[in-house]
Symmetry: C2
Subunit: 206 residues, 2 copies
DNA sequence: GTGTTTACATACGCTGTTGTTTGTATATAA
DNA sequence: TTATATACAAACAACAGCGTATGTAAACAC
């Protein structure tokens, strides 16, 4: 069984990406070898090198497959569109991110790999830059939402949208990190939704 | 020049630890070889293997040297002792951590290594556990401070100390991560103090 | 149906890295 | 003063992992 049809080839390509995710998660990115990944995918290194130039390219393929759609989701519906209640908009955005982590094993694994199973040096420094850019994009959109909220009088009087956005952004970064790192204990994972609600409630006029 | 006196030996031991920090920072932990570290320290691998069993042990030595004193500082003065204003106590604790990052190159470098230049797999998973334990210790102390603040009437009425502490803790985690990751831009680093003040101001009765 | 390309498996050579072993000059203890 | 332990340097053996080259059978184009 050697030459496969195009669809079959695409299937093994996907298998290799999935295998890479599993292996990266288990052994960390730099300790994962092409042999490990190939074995996990049930192929030989030949197949892996046919589809991907090297481990770095495979890493990027893995990352983009799940993360790019996720970023689109962030940018789209929840923040920009909301003509309704802007604060609820932000809250839904935060909840939605947690929800997508809870729903999708793949997303969870990739977040874990990106956060605690990857060293951001040399070729991977660009990835870190991308993360930062994405992060400041989120920050700006949160700020816009807070500005709309202020106009609508939903905020405590003298609170600056810029500062609020920064505070929420840091809360968000911290939440994601703790959520991912809290693997066995699962204390944070259960509380996450509560914490988001409390964080937003701090900002609301009552 | 072979056999050194005891003091000289201790000196080369320290040199090796410092060298390891530099190399870890530049190449990431797993891509750093004993040869790299030895060269950076101006010795041969023989010396490194004399002082440390392997790279893992060297990593722990590096980490403990700067981080353990820092943890002591956290646990001590700022949170427990404060019989004065508990909220200012928390604020000072947050400010103090940022300050120790700004003051000490070594601390900065180790934080960067721990956050984005290290893969927490196999032998290193225990390190992650330690970080989490330390983190929940901080959380508890923040909560105690908030409880004291509530008794003194410093807080907005119905705010639960437990929730406030979680929110501040996540803010803190996020702040540290962004501070460390924001290497060139330095947007966050300049704002950090402001952001801490704003975060605490959100909680204060006015 | 034949030629060419595809999608891999297999085999090879090379380099990098590790842990250990051996050598050695000197500090230190007796 | 001599013996021994120390603090390394230098050499060695072994393997792991990478990239590439080669083989090959089946898919696809014509």
């Amino acid at each position: 069984m050697v030459r496969k049809t195009k669809e079959n080839a695409e299937l093994t390509r996907q298998n290799i990406i999935h295998a890479a995710r599993e292996v990266f998660l288990k052994r960390g990115v730099s300790r994962s070898t092409m042999e490990h990944i190939a074995a996990q995918a049930g192929v030989t290194r030949g197949a892996v090198y046919w589809h991907f130039k090297n481990k770095t390219e495979l890493f990027h393929a893995m990352r983009e497959q799940v993360l790019l759609p996720l970023i689109d989701r962030m940018d789209g519906a929840l923040l920009v569109a909301g003509s309704e209640d802007p604060l609820t908009c932000i809250e839904n955005f935060l909840l939605g991110t947690i929800q997508s982590l809870e729903e999708s094993l793949e997303t969870r694994q990739i977040y874990e790999i990106m956060m605690i199973k990857c060293e951001y040096v040399e070729e991977f420094e660009t990835v870190l830059q991308q993360i930062l850019v994405n992060c400041s994009g989120i920050l700006q959109k949160i700020q816009l939402a807070y500005e709309r909220a202020r106009i609508k009088g939903q905020l405590h009087e003298a609170l600056e949208p810029a500062q609020l956005a920064q505070d929420t952004n840091l809360f968000f970064v911290g939440l994601l990190h703790m959520w991912v790192k809290d693997i066995q204990g699962q204390q944070f994972r259960q509380q996450a939704i509560q914490l988001i609600h409390f964080h937003m409630q701090l900002r609301r006029t009552h």
